[in-house]
């Protein structure tokens, strides 16, 4: 439980600083309980594990688990649902009538996937971030701005549980002139930001003192996409706002930066995080890029077990400067986002760096357009601010990208507003699109 509100850094110190051996023991207990639970209740796991010749009794420790239990992918889940018509794709381990709620994935790569939830006091996704918001500095009595989106659930009761006061302002893009007035009136301590909102704020900076506006904030979270260098510098240095970036923990929850800002903490009492080669099942060393393969340790409704997240990460189990013992990861990209142009791999991050290097497109608003992963031509749609002279912009962008990735692209320019209108989620701006 949270200890000294005035000075203590940890929300649950016993868990957050748990020695590695104890964490492993806890994970082992949970895995040994989870495996027979899922096998007996989930049609999907029963089928997949039967096909692999695995029985729960074969799993006696984490080594057995990693060696014998097959990994699964989102495509496997979609295929099961498509074949059986089961809306839960065979993952459900409880009777549907027992479910409290159903949220869903952002759906940037296809139809949203369901996350069936079973809970009493608070929904699992926001609840899992209690330690992270405590680390950010939020304390009872603080006011927080309500996030814009609701598809992962309403967060207000969670804030209330922490003693916080939600301020229900419309924080979706297009409303931030009004939000700045709300900030002035109520001096909130926290808000969740997204890339398009930062772009709107950048425009408002011409007429508003954002450093003064954000001086009441203990921090802001940022998610949905990697944070470009230009935006990060502007928010942190020009506006004086400490950003806490978070990302998905392989669809089992979220992983947040702490105040050290050195990687995303995976709460390993809730997730077993494996770090495997992207094209196989071999573990890779922490400083190599591998795929995050995640197992829910606290989800009795529809646990993901050895789920290949597509997230390419580096990972470390070293104790963080904050004193927490749970592993951290650093995201390198998405496995599915690599585009192969005439046999040459092109990574989103490399295109991003090139787009950011051109002053008129420093916000890094772009999309790679590809009908399939392997293409003959690299097409990049780039958003720019229409004010000022943009003569020769497409040519300069093509040159910058070509120099960076080794393939000169076809550049399609749109205004920032036009490209932002292509958003398909409050959580993510899609970087790779089919059209």
């Amino acid at each position: 439980m949270p200890t000294d509100v005035a000075g203590d850094r940890y929300f649950q110190p016993g868990i957050e600083t748990m020695p590695r051996a104890e964490l492993t023991k806890l994970q082992t207990e949970r895995i040994l309980s989870l495996v027979p639970y899922a096998y007996e209740r989930s049609a999907f796991y029963h089928e997949v594990w039967d096909a692999a010749g695995v029985r729960p009794a074969d799993i006696r420790d984490l080594d057995d688990f990693a060696r014998l239990v097959p990994t699964i992918t989102r495509d496997d889940i979609r295929a099961f649902r498509s074949r059986t018509g089961d809306p839960y794709a065979g993952l459900l381990c409880v009777d549907p009538s027992e479910l409290t709620s159903i949220t869903s994935s952002s759906g940037t790569t296809g139809e949203p996937e369901f996350f069936p939830e079973l809970w009493d006091a608070q929904p699992p996704l926001p609840l899992a971030s209690a330690r992270d918001l405590w680390e950010l500095g939020l304390r009872p009595g603080d006011r927080v701005l309500a996030p814009a989106g609701s598809f992962r659930g309403f967060f207000d009761s969670f804030y209330q549980m922490l003693g916080l006061v939600p301020v229900y302002a419309d924080t979706w893009m297009g409303h931030w002139a009004e939000v700045l007035e709300v900030i002035k009136a109520y001096r909130p301590a926290y808000v969740q930001l997204m890339g398009p909102i930062i772009i709107e704020l950048e425009r408002l900076a011409a007429t508003h003192d954002l450093r003064e506006a954000f001086s009441c904030f203990k921090g802001a979270s940022f998610a949905g996409q990697p944070l470009g260098r230009h935006q990060a510098r502007m928010v942190r240095e020009d506006w004086g706002l400490e950003l806490f970036v978070y990302t998905s923990a392989g669809d089992t929850g979220t992983a947040w930066e702490c105040r050290e800002h050195d990687g995303y903490h995976l709460w390993e009492d809730t997730v077993l995080a494996e770090h495997l080669s992207a094209d196989g099942n071999d573990p890779v060393s922490g400083d190599e890029v591998g795929e995050l393969v995640a197992t829910n340790l606290d989800d009795l409704a529809a646990p993901l077990i050895r789920y290949r997240s597509d997230d390419l990460v580096r990972m470390s189990g070293d104790v963080c400067g904050c004193g927490r013992t749970h592993s951290r990861m650093w995201v390198a990209g998405r496995k599915g986002d690599e585009t192969v142009v005439r046999g040459r791999p092109v990574l989103v991050g490399d295109v991003w760096a090139a787009v950011e290097s051109v002053p008129e497109t420093a916000d890094g608003l772009f999309q790679i357009i590809r009908p399939s992963r392997e293409v003959e031509e690299l097409r990049v749609r780039v958003g720019y601010e229409p004010s000022g002279d943009v003569g020769g912009l497409a040519e300069r962008l093509a040159a910058a990208i070509g120099e960076r990735v080794g393939v000169v692209p076809v550049v399609e320019l749109e205004t920032a507003d036009e490209i932002l209108a292509r958003s398909t989620s409050v959580a993510k701006f899609p970087r790779v699109v089919k059209k």
Binding site: D156, W172, A185, T424
Partner: protein, 228 residues
């Protein structure tokens, strides 16, 4: 984590909302006791629409609508109906479509214009929602929904008050124990009649409509508001 949070002091108020009163924006504090009462009232309304433990509800709402929608979500939890969530933006209509396609929804709450138009544009609106027995929609979505042959009940945000039609669809009920809505030639006025953190006194809502005071055939004694 819930146990850890239980040791924390509760905030003095449940939240701060904002409503439009004509061309004015009014901020209002939300107290804990009225949150409980609003939940009880929302539960009564949802029950009239047949919400039960055995069904599925889809709630489509924006977080800023929390002062009005959170009591509905709490009511869903109390009823035991499994609820899904979708955003209100047109581009998120595919989430509403996914829920409607995969689950036998018994209630859709909160449909707005953007979602309704996007589903209508896709040609799926009637197919997806035609079998849903209870649809509660905002006024701006109703023309699109009715054109598709659907019969939504009305949701109206009357300043800080929530108004909901019952299945009789004869005006949106307002909790008469909490609010007084008056009809004037210049539009509707709203006052609080219960002890709430925010007290309103004949606030012009900038909404035209009429107030029906007689009992509804659904059995509710609450007054009803008809917009327009």
């Amino acid at each position: 984590m819930v146990a850890a949070a239980a040791a924390l002091p509760r905030a003095p108020i449940a939240g701060i909302g904002r409503y439009h009163a004509g061309d004015q924006i009014v901020d209002f504090e939300i107290g804990w006791e009225e949150t409980s009462r609003d939940t009880v009232w929302a539960r009564e309304q949802l029950t009239r629409w047949g919400a039960s433990r055995s069904g599925y509800a889809l709630i489509t709402a924006a977080m800023w609508q929390g002062p009005w929608v959170s009591p509905v979500l709490r009511a869903c939890r109390e009823i035991g109906i499994t609820f899904g969530m979708a955003d209100v933006f047109g581009w998120d209509s595919r989430r509403t479509a996914t829920f409607a396609r995969r689950l036998p929804l018994s209630l859709v709450f909160g449909l707005g214009r953007e979602t309704a138009e996007a589903l209508a544009d896709s040609g799926e609106l009637a197919d997806l929602l035609g079998g849903v027995p209870a649809i509660l929609a905002h006024a701006d979505a109703r023309p699109v929904l009715t054109a598709a042959g659907l019969r939504p009940g009305l949701i109206a945000l009357l300043g800080p008050a929530l108004a909901l039609e019952c299945p009789q669809r004869a005006g949106a009920h307002v909790n008469g124990a909490e609010w007084l809505v008056e009809e004037t030639g210049d539009g509707l006025l709203l006052s609080t009649v219960a002890g709430r953190a925010h007290q309103a006194r004949r606030v012009p809502l900038g909404i035209t409509g009429s107030v029906v005071s007689g009992p509804c055939s659904c059995g509710s004694p609450d007054p009803r508001v008809r917009l327009g």
